[in-house]
């Protein structure tokens, strides 16, 4: 007689809960030493439930099928010379930023989940973190495999791993994850599992990836959607985590709210990079950053917070400011990279006339008034043979580590400056959000590894910026950096396409 097939619920119970054991001769608190110091109170771990009821056997089965589909597409892409089918060689620079800025963070997420998966007393949470840790490892691997094909044809892909904790703009995502990973297990889960996964990764992996498809990059859209299908599971888990923590004890509510405030703000700052990728680096446009923000942050995030209101959770702090900034950040960020194009590991450019008209249409209240003039100045200088590269190094925010490029929303041509003094030292911030985060844990953030200050301290080689870029960052100067105009990437592309 054939064995009766177990229902999902029974299987989940057998292969998750029933894998746990009682501690008869060891102290449970000593086994899970990090469970209490953050102030989170767990009264009953058995209330933890994975809504997908995913067990390890099913996990391997479906993940391996996803991988087979994915690698078949990578093979087809490579065998078909897929690199020749992208819309424009400028597009590939968004992928360079993806590989250097994002893929290493997938690895940090893998490490983070492996760590916290060991730290929870509840077996359901441990199994879920194990799967997520494996997912994140899969993401970095598939991304490296997908983009290794571009490495054969374009500059700027060769030293991503070396660059991760050295290059000035890569310190932004790197320090974001260092902050999360050096927090306790519950803060990490709220930071990455909830705040980041539920709203923010959608913005990267859905509209941007749809844009990759629209620009002819089948390899990237496929790893993106394949990764996001795992993220859909992570998001769901993130939401369950929040509900679980809030239901466990009322004392958890203010702690969770504080983490939500912190990590939504940090995530918003981090995503400035994705904003410019969408608005400026995709030659064929799907939707503007502002539109994507409205769908995935305002609409999806708004629904989420309405649902959580019954626990006493409110919209993240500074949501009104974030609402205004969506009109500005992508322009401000791309301008920063354009003017630092000599120090970036990818190419930058002035948007074309058609692109500027598209930006005017998508940003009717801000582009022509505040940002078109910057590009007209850039064009004027370029025409005079003085392509503008800024000469000095920028002031950085101590918390997010981004150059202090954000402006006052009440006065959009004025840089927003905030500072505070702690133990006699002055610290600078781009915003109240970043300043609040510092003030809550100054002993953590006084340790910020700010790339500009590190260069001045002599810790990044030198003495000149050229040596820092070439020797410490290992950028191939003259090939990886500078404007797309006149770059080896552009020359090769023209050769392949047979245009002068």
């Amino acid at each position: 007689m054939a064995a009766k097939k177990l229902s999902l619920k029974d299987k989940y119970s057998l292969l998750t809960r029933d894998l746990d054991w009682e501690f008869s001769y060891q102290d449970r608190k000593a086994a899970f030493p990090f469970e209490e110091f953050e102030g989170i109170k767990i009264t009953d771990w058995s209330k933890w439930e994975d809504p997908f009821r995913l067990t390890m056997d099913a996990y391997w089965k479906y993940q391996s099928e996803k991988e087979k589909k994915l690698y078949a597409i990578f093979d087809a892409f490579a065998q078909n010379n897929g690199q020749l089918n992208v819309s424009d060689p400028r597009y590939v620079n968004a992928i360079k930023l993806f590989l250097t800025g994002i893929s290493p963070q997938e690895y940090q997420a893998h490490q983070g989940f492996a760590h916290i998966g060991r730290q929870y007393g509840g077996v359901g949470a441990r199994v879920a973190c194990q799967m997520q840790s494996l997912d994140e490892l899969r993401h970095v691997q598939t991304q490296v495999h997908a983009m290794s094909h571009y490495n054969k044809f374009f500059d700027g892909f060769q030293n991503w791993s070396h660059m991760q904790d050295r290059v000035w703009y890569l310190s932004v995502p790197t320090s974001f994850f260092h902050d999360a990973r050096s927090a306790g297990p519950f803060e990490f889960l709220v930071a990455i599992g909830f705040s980041f996964e539920y709203v923010l990764t959608n913005l990267l992996f859905v509209p941007f990836m749809s844009g990759a498809a629209y620009n002819g990059d089948m390899a990237t859209v496929t790893f993106g959607f394949s990764a996001q299908s795992d993220e859909a599971r992570h998001m769901t888990l993130g939401l369950e985590v929040i509900k679980f923590l809030l239901e466990q004890h009322e004392d958890n509510v203010p702690i969770v709210q504080k983490w939500i405030d912190k990590w939504f703000w940090r995530g918003t700052r981090l995503l400035s990079l994705v904003g410019m990728m969408m608005d400026y680096m995709l030659p064929n446009k799907v939707m503007s950053w502002k539109e994507a923000w409205e769908v995935y942050f305002e609409e999806a995030g708004g629904a989420l917070f309405k649902d959580l209101a019954r626990y006493g959770i409110t919209m993240p702090k500074y949501a009104e400011l974030i609402d205004k900034e969506k009109e500005h950040v992508s322009h401000q960020t791309w301008w920063t990279f354009y003017t630092h194009g000599h120090a970036a590991g990818f190419h930058t450019w002035i948007p074309t006339d058609e692109e500027m008209d598209w930006l005017s249409e998508k940003y009717p209240d801000t582009f022509d008034k505040y940002y078109r003039p910057r590009w007209e100045l850039a064009r004027k200088l370029e025409a005079e043979g003085k392509r503008f590269y800024t000469k000095a190094l920028p002031q950085l925010c101590t918390t997010c580590q981004i150059p202090m490029l954000f402006t006052e929303m009440s006065d959009p041509t004025q840089i927003s400056y905030r500072d505070t003094v702690y133990k006699g030292e002055r610290y600078h911030f781009c915003s109240d959000g970043c300043c609040d985060i510092f003030k809550d844990e100054p002993e953590k953030f006084v340790q910020s590894w700010l790339p500009v200050h590190q260069i001045f301290q002599g810790n990044c080689g030198g003495p000149g910026v050229e040596q820092v870029l070439g020797e410490y960052y290992k950028m191939n100067l003259g090939a990886d950096n500078l404007d797309i105009k006149g770059s080896p990437d552009e020359k090769r592309w023209k050769q392949w396409k047979g245009v002068a």
Binding site: F34, E376, K386, A392, M404, D419, F456
Partner: protein, 120 residues
């Protein structure tokens, strides 16, 4: 609580204390409403440098690409030092007029409104 750490009484190492800059201190300088420069600049300079040297040599290097830089009338330029209004003494050392490590100097040139009068 200055940090939520597992280790009791945890304190962090202050990475940017002035001693780490080999005799220099950091001074930030920003030109209000001139966003050709995406952010204020950070300059490592000796605390004994005069304000004149800072303005005419160090800051000039960063700001001179701006078409309005040569037009600045310094007699009518206003300054903020760490958010407070400030009158620089040109031939006095930075440190002797309160411009210490990680101080932010902002200056305003209300007659110069940036490229295309757009704050650029």
């Amino acid at each position: 609580m200055p940090v939520h750490a597992y280790t009791p009484n945890y304190t962090g190492v202050v990475r940017d204390r002035v001693e780490n800059f080999h005799g220099n201190q950091i001074v930030y300088a920003g030109w209000d409403h001139h966003l050709m420069f995406c952010a204020a600049f950070a300059f490592p300079v000796p605390p004994t440098m005069t304000f004149r040297q800072l303005r005419d040599e160090v800051m000039a290097e960063g700001f001179e690409p701006h078409p309005e830089w040569p037009q600045i009338d310094w007699a009518h330029t206003t300054w903020l030092l760490n958010g407070e209004s400030f009158v620089p003494q040109l031939d006095v050392a930075l440190i002797d007029q309160g411009i210490d490590h990680k101080s932010l100097l902002r200056f305003q040139t209300p007659d110069l409104k940036g490229f295309q009068d757009a704050g650029v």
